[in-house]
Amino acid sequence: MGTLAVFLAPALLLYFGFTLYPVLRTFYNSLHTIGPQGVQSFVGFANFSQLLNDDPVIWKAVGHTAVFTVVATLADVFGGLLLALCLFAGAPFARVLRLLWFTPVLMSYVVVGVIWVWIYDYDWGLANVILRAIGLSAFEQSWLGDPSTALGSVMVTHIWKWLGFNMIIFLAALYALPAEVLGAAELDNCGWLAKLVYIMIPMLRATIVNLLILSFIGKMMIFDLVWIMTGGGPLWSTETVSTYVYKRAFDWNTFDLGYPSAIAVLWFLIIMAFVVVITRVFRQRDKLEF
């Protein structure tokens, strides 16, 4: 079928040229060590065994990334749903709010990071200033300086940035819901909570699942925000897989790409396994078929 070829060709060409080759190259690199003058020596699974047995940071990074991804995804998606419902339910100035609530999405990570580092500052950051003003100064912290609160603080910032996006998607989906069903529910004297839980959410199921997956994938790669705000500290409490890969590839005194490639490959395998499991669970056969 010639048309098929035409439809697929540009994407596949670009993809193979610019994405697939680097991907394969990364797999290749993970089995080698790059020494002086770029000379590669095959080391088999040595990188992987070092990674699995002798690396104190990687499992912390995986753990943080996992926690971050799961919690932030759920908060993001359901928060977005909540916001969309607010607007749908007829909050005043809905059109302005739609734009305003979306602005964090438009800001670059650099600026979001810088602003929130300031907000979290111990002495004059808004967070502590407000806590002091309302008499809760017992709760003031060095939000980004304390290992127990740093990851949560970065999470809040990330959620703040992305809530608006999910809100818009949900809003569109809500508007697309057939009015007859909602009207029928009204006639049947459904309370708004029942209507929400038993009618609207099931009808939005496809959107919810899609956004969960999209959000999940986006958050797994979390790098820019963490890098700007904490650089993986304090005491590695915000180290994620991406920041660790970046550090090993660019910050450590080495040109060796073998080890960071091994980290990336390992991560890839973990995610693949996870996605396969999730797909089975949701049985969205027409979304992600492997």
């Binding site: 010639g2 048309t3 035409v6 790059i34 002086p36 003058q37 770029g38 104190p56 940071v57 580092v117 979290y120 500052d121 111990y122 002495d123 060095s142 980004l144 300086g145 304390d146 290992p147 650089g231 500290g233 304090p234 005491l235 590695w236 550090k247 590839a249 660019f250 910050d251 450590w252 005194n253 080495t254 040109f255």
Partner: protein, 432 residues
């Protein structure tokens, strides 16, 4: 029946646009030689002016030669270098620092022994760049670690600086306690964006306690962190931390912000800092500099009880330049570096950037608004026994990572006990 694929107008337009951009890209002519230089410190006007001046001087001396300096911020420059060099695409000349040894071991720097005019460079500065008998970098910026303080605040506390400007261990702790009681922040310091400032106090204390040889052994993994002298130093530092020597936002305060904290708002008693302090301080107040009448003083880091070397001081090389081993213009590149390293340029460096240099420059008399500062700075260098290089120049790999997270941040940040800190440092650094 299928229609032939007809390019949509907009797609065609876009493709044409893209092609136009590519075709329109400037092409180099065969007769021009362009020397490419990558440097960071794009936000320090005086240094930009300095390096651009050398570039223009070289162009005047060699018609047909263009020197193109691409200015980066540090992290983007590192990312760019690490992608470009392995692909054989780096610049001819690039900025390097002495602890970036991977460029030497990776073979991306050319040996400079025969290319550079070394008569204008100080020997001790050159030594830092010698590996396996060959020199790989030309030092430009030199600095010493100093302990700046606010003269007025010290007077207000009723404390006098000893004749040799050095407190004892106990006096220093006492001073910090007094300052804290008077509502002052004793030491302005922040580790928000650097892996070394938090380690100034403990690092300089270790140097004075252990002496140069053992200090080096400690950070190269040959001396255990459980050595009793090391434990004593850490216990003393922990006392300082517990008394509240560092500000509450220590973990997130940025380096530039710590300067401002010290001399503008909210003011602090002391600021341990490299002598490149002047780069941020000696600029107009609107640009974030210190107020013109600020009572700046310099004291020595405190002497340790039973210390091996109270007159020891850390001196280090910062900004340096090297030549890409794959460069096709090595001679020209060397000439550019030479152009930056003449005695006149050395003098210019000191006078416009207010910083020491690895270039042999004779400044007999200090003039200008900062003369008093330089006089005091030189007084603090008298009789000093220098250790060349900071801890970051010595540590590698896991140890470097631990240094930044543990010794620099978590320990002075009050997050770890002495035992925990020493254990972690040993695990990461001590080679047995």
């Amino acid at each position: 029946m299928t229609e032939p694929f007809a390019p949509r107008p907009i797609t065609a337009l876009v493709l044409a646009f893209a092609a136009g951009i590519w075709l329109g890209a400037p092409r180099a002519h065969a007769e021009d030689v362009t020397l490419t230089v990558w440097s960071h410190e794009a936000d320090q006007d005086a240094k930009v002016a300095f390096r651009e001046l050398a570039a223009r001087n070289l162009e005047k001396a060699h018609p047909g030669v263009k020197v193109k300096i691409t200015w980066y911020e540090k992290n983007p420059m590192l990312a760019a270098l690490k992608t470009a060099l392995p692909a054989g695409q780096g610049p001819d000349v690039y900025y390097i620092e002495p602890d970036w040894t991977e460029y030497i071991t990776g073979g991306y720097l050319a040996p400079l022994d025969d290319l550079i005019d070394w008569s204008t460079i100080e020997d001790w500065a050159r030594k830092i760049w010698v590996h396996n008998g060959k020199t790989y970098g030309v030092p430009q910026e030199a600095y010493t670690n100093e302990l700046y303080y606010n003269k007025d605040m010290l007077k207000k506390l009723g404390v006098d600086l000893p004749a040799n400007a050095q407190f004892t261990q106990a006096q220093f702790l006492d001073l910090v306690k007094k300052a804290k009681a008077a509502g002052m922040t004793p030491i302005a310091q922040g580790v928000g964006d650097r892996p070394f400032p938090g380690a100034y106090i403990v690092g300089e204390a270790l140097l004075r306690k252990l002496g140069k040889a053992d200090y080096e052994k400690l950070f190269t993994g040959k001396l255990s962190f459980q050595d009793p002298r090391v434990i004593e130093v850490f216990k003393w530092t922990k006392d300082l931390v517990d008394v509240g020597a560092y500000p509450k936002n220590f973990m997130t305060l940025k380096l530039g912000e710590s300067h401002y904290y010290f001399y503008s708002k909210p003011l602090a008693l002391m600021l341990p800092m490299g002598s490149w302090y002047t780069g941020r301080a000696f600029v107009p107040v609107e640009k974030g500099g210190q107020p013109p009448d600020f009572p700046l003083g310099i004291m020595q880091f405190p002497a340790m009880d039973g210390g091996a070397c109270s007159q020891c001081k850390t001196s280090a090389i910062g900004a340096s330049f090297g030549i890409n081993a794959a460069s096709k213009n090595k001679k020209l590149a060397a000439e550019y570096i030479n152009a930056m390293s003449t005695p006149e340029m050395g003098k210019r460096w000191i006078e416009t950037i207010y910083l020491q240099t690895g270039i042999k420059a004779k400044v007999d008399k200090f003039t200008g608004p900062y003369a008093a500062y330089f006089t005091e700075l030189m007084a603090r260098q008298k009789g000093a026994d220098y250790f060349i290089g900071g801890p970051l120049d010595l540590v590698e790999g896991k140890c470097k990572d631990a240094f930044g997270q543990v010794l620099n941040a978590a320990f002075p940040g009050g997050l770890l006990t002495v035992d925990d800190t020493l254990k972690r440092m040993n695990t990461a650094c001590y080679k047995g």
